[in-house]
Amino acid sequence: MNLTLHVWRQKGPAAAGRMVTYQARGVSPDQSFLEMLDGLNEELITKGEEPVAFDHDCREGICGSCGMVINGVAHGPEQTTTCQLHMRSFEDGDEIYIEPWRAEPFPVVRDLMVDRSAFDRIISAGGYVSINTGSAPEANATAIRKEDADMAFDAATCIGCGACVAACKNASAMLFTSAKVSQLAKLPQGQVERKRRVLNMVERMDQEGFGNCSNYQECEAVCPKGISTQNISVMNREYLRATLTGA
């Protein structure tokens, strides 16, 4: 199939960006979206032009590296990561608009690549269990209900790609942050730091400049891992509880 691509090109965070139009020819429906861009880049390099920069790595939908807004939707028309989006989701002759995640806390590094280190800083504010290595109790000493383990797991599947932020008109990071908060709040291991964790993580999230949640649920709609906005309710309850009773 042949496609017309409009790709956001931007040299760096301070530089002005613009859409540049390219033709992609002979694309196979079995190719992934990133493989289609690989093809474009091979052509650009051969012509002596700089390739389009985009983040990618595992190409199995799990590392969370890739992510771009395709025709206005984070990760494109299927609810999956960009690397798992296949060209069979498009028609021959389609025009495709490709842009980076747009959110102030995610400055553009170059082209389609953005800086998501704000997510790392939210985790470092408290998204962990402070267990020291080498002195853990026997794993089966604490029984955990399967239902609780499963719910914690559902939250833990977040891959930190940032589509939730890109899709949100407030650039809110609440789906990401709440997934970690509710995973650890569900498990007995997370209890000791439960209140301090949510306070610190929410504070950090605000400091980074992410907006608030106003229940549009666009985040859930684009999340490649189907993280539920129920986690946001859990985080709100956890936050309220911590502020009312003190950490």
């Binding site: 196979s28 493989e35 051969t46 199995e60 280190s117 790392d120 962990y128 267990i131 399967k146 914690a152």
Partner: protein
């Protein structure tokens, strides 16, 4: 090739096998807590090995500089491991023990790994589960609240702990979170989007690294009291593999060029259950967890060229070849055995799918027995992933699978302390050679990464610091300038060639050659041919590669060129190693050495050793040093899974 007389000291402690590690721990020297903050450690890579090492070393009080090429430590490729992690907890009461796990691993590695290392790996496996559960890793559980287990290829007990099909992700997030806690405490400094391009060695000791900031292009020097490489494997030498696109051999290969020995490079594991390649634009292969073989049955048609749809092929026309040939292990036969069996039926013309390169992995019977819902609960995300990639519904039609390059058992040589032959250079996880022999059993890679990082290196690195005088070197040391000059020179060269072909096109060409001649099976003729052709590819590369842009900027083609150049050199080393090892073992199958039934034929008389390659600078002909493998606790036996 010259075989050197040099004797390598693996520093394996004396005494009975089950007491070696405990005794060694008691004998190692300690660094006093108030002195630990005076030491700085560089950890390259943030996967299970690097992440757990960085977190633990920082927690102990050392200053840690953590480097990764991704934008965040959480994205290391360990995250993609699906199946599980082994530990002999014997929760199922099905007869598991350290001894049994040890024996399975030694046998699974085809008696080409070190007894003492493997024993320690299995011994510490139980601690890892405790550690990860305490971190909040949500492992699968039974309704009674206890941890669930399943069985995996190569084992007859249920010793694999798992978190749906995302075990690697959950374990990695556990150590990433532990790392971020130390970042918050100021003990770890992160260097994401940073690539290690050289190792700095002074007076025989590793004292630092040279990196390139992948965003600004800045080449930087980093000095430390020790350097830890946790940079994963080199499976991307085949271009198509299950590794992430960015996985590369550069860090390890630069260390090799600076004097670290590279061991057993020809041992690459071919994983039996990957989605078959579909076309020439493909950038990578996707693995389907081996756990699928617990319920899926592998088959092809009995007659070559049978083009019927799978549901039109009645049972009597199907060949469930793994169950037929290996009745006691059946579909759970180890990876090398299952991979070669698939290759054989495809070579016989009995392969399935549009390309004829593939075999069926069929869940019809399991769905009939357990119901689609239960199958979805166990493997749902894998089924979804398969459907997304192939556009076929595995609940209705059998999956198609074929072997692909997955894990590399070879790597930099290390002693029992996980230190290379260069003092101060430690190598952990897949980047070293030590624990898996010629073949890795399922669910033991995650284990090795975490055992090395959480429970071995943090002890042994302290012993190194306590024994060696503290470094007084800084990044002003002349060796740093030389290494920096090497790196900058190489970058300048790439940018000045201005040829016609992209770096990726060379990588694809190289990958195809290595897969054909040094892939699932090898023979002397093919290897000699590859050894003759690789220098031609190298020469063309250095004359005709096209790298656009500049060095002082984010530059994808420059990154690709650097990695491809190292893969070219590594590929040659792999082929030389494969040619020298005139036997078949594990993932290394030399066609000249097989039984009448087509199984691997080892030669314990001549090859019960680790091959350690020593670089001769730019001369492509390296020297060989042998580390004999001594087995005191197991009988070397022919592996049989029949």
């Amino acid at each position: 090739m010259k075989v050197l007389e040099e004797r390598l000291d693996a520093r394996i402690p004396d005494g009975p096998l089950d007491q070696k590690w405990t005794r060694h721990q008691g004998e190692m020297k300690l660094v006093s807590p108030n002195n630990k903050r005076k030491y700085t450690v560089i950890v390259v890579g943030t996967g299970l090995a690097g992440g757990s090492a960085a977190a633990t070393l920082a927690e102990l009080g050392y200053n840690v500089l953590s480097f990764c090429y991704q934008d965040s430590a959480r994205r290391a490729h360990s995250i993609a491991a699906q199946g599980g992690i082994n530990a002999c907890k014997n929760y199922q009461n099905d007869g598991d023990s350290v001894r049994r796990f040890f024996h399975d691993t030694i046998k699974g590695g085809d008696f080409r790994s070190r007894e003492a290392n493997v024993y320690r790996l299995t011994e510490l496996s139980t601690d890892i589960i405790d550690q990860c559960v305490a971190q909040g890793v949500p492992f699968a559980r039974e309704y009674g609240g206890t941890l669930a287990n399943r069985s995996f290829g190569g084992a007859q007990v249920s010793r694999t702990f798992y978190a749906r099909g995302q075990t690697g992700q959950q374990l990695l997030l556990g150590c990433y979170q532990a790392m971020m806690r130390q970042v918050n405490a100021g003990k770890i400094t992160l260097f994401p989007r940073t690539e290690m391009l050289d190792l700095v060695v002074a007076n025989g000791r590793a004292i630092g690294i040279i990196t390139r900031d992948m965003v600004t292009g800045k080449v930087e020097k980093h000095c430390a009291d020790a350097v830890v490489l946790a940079t994963g494997g080199y499976g991307n030498v085949f271009y198509l593999s299950t590794n992430a696109k960015g996985c590369n051999v550069t860090a390890g290969f630069r260390a090799y060029r600076q004097g670290a020995y590279f061991s057993n490079p020809c041992y690459t594991q071919i994983h039996p259950t990957c989605i078959p390649p579909h076309g020439e634009h493909q950038s990578k292969l996707t693995l389907m967890s081996e756990s699928l073989r617990n319920d899926g049955r592998v088959w092809v048609s009995k007659t070559p060229g049978d083009k019927r749809a799978p549901d039109q092929i009645p049972d009597e026309d199907r060949d469930y070849y793994l169950e037929r040939i290996y009745p006691s292990f059946g579909n759970l036969a180890p990876r090398d055995i299952a991979s070669r069996a698939a290759k054989r039926v495809v070579d016989e013309g009995r392969g399935v799918g549009p390309t004829g390169v593939g075999v069926y992995l069929d869940f019809r019977d399991a769905i009939g027995r357990l119901g689609a819902q239960n199958i979805a609960a166990k493997y749902g995300n894998l089924f979804d992933m398969y459907q997304r990639i192939t556009d076929e519904d595995p609940y209705k039609v059998p999956m198609r699978i074929y072997p692909a390059s997955h894990y590399t058992m070879g790597g930099l040589w290390v002693d029992y302390n996980l230190m290379s032959n260069l003092p101060g250079l430690f190598v952990i996880g897949e980047a070293n050679f030590s624990d898996h022999g010629a073949n890795r059993l399922g669910a033991s890679a995650l284990l090795q990464g975490l055992v090395d990082g959480y429970f071995v290196l943090p002890y042994t690195i302290g012993d190194y610091f306590a024994r060696f005088k503290k470094l007084d070197a800084s990044a002003d040391h002349p060796e740093f300038d030389q290494a920096e000059a090497r790196v900058k020179d190489r970058i300048r060269t790439f940018l000045s060639i201005n040829g016609r072909r992209t770096p990726d096109s060379f990588h694809r060409q190289l990958g195809q050659l290595v897969w054909d001649k040094c892939g699932m099976s090898r023979n002397a003729e093919g290897l000699k041919e590859a050894i003759a052709r690789i220098p031609e590819i190298r020469q063309e590369f250095w004359e005709d590669v096209k790298v656009v842009g500049s060095g002082e900027d984010l530059n994808i083609s420059l990154e690709q060129a650097g990695r491809t150049a190292d893969f070219i050199d590594l590929a040659e080393l792999m082929c030389r190693d494969a040619l020298a090892r005139e036997e078949s073992c594990g993932g290394h199958f030399r066609e000249e050495h097989q039984t009448d039934e087509g199984e691997a034929l080892r030669d314990d008389e001549r090859f019960c050793h680790v091959s350690c390659w020593k670089s001769n600078g730019t001369d492509p002909d390296p020297d060989l040093i042998l580390e004999p493998l001594v087995f005191e606790n197991v009988q070397l036996a022919t592996r049989s899974y029949k």
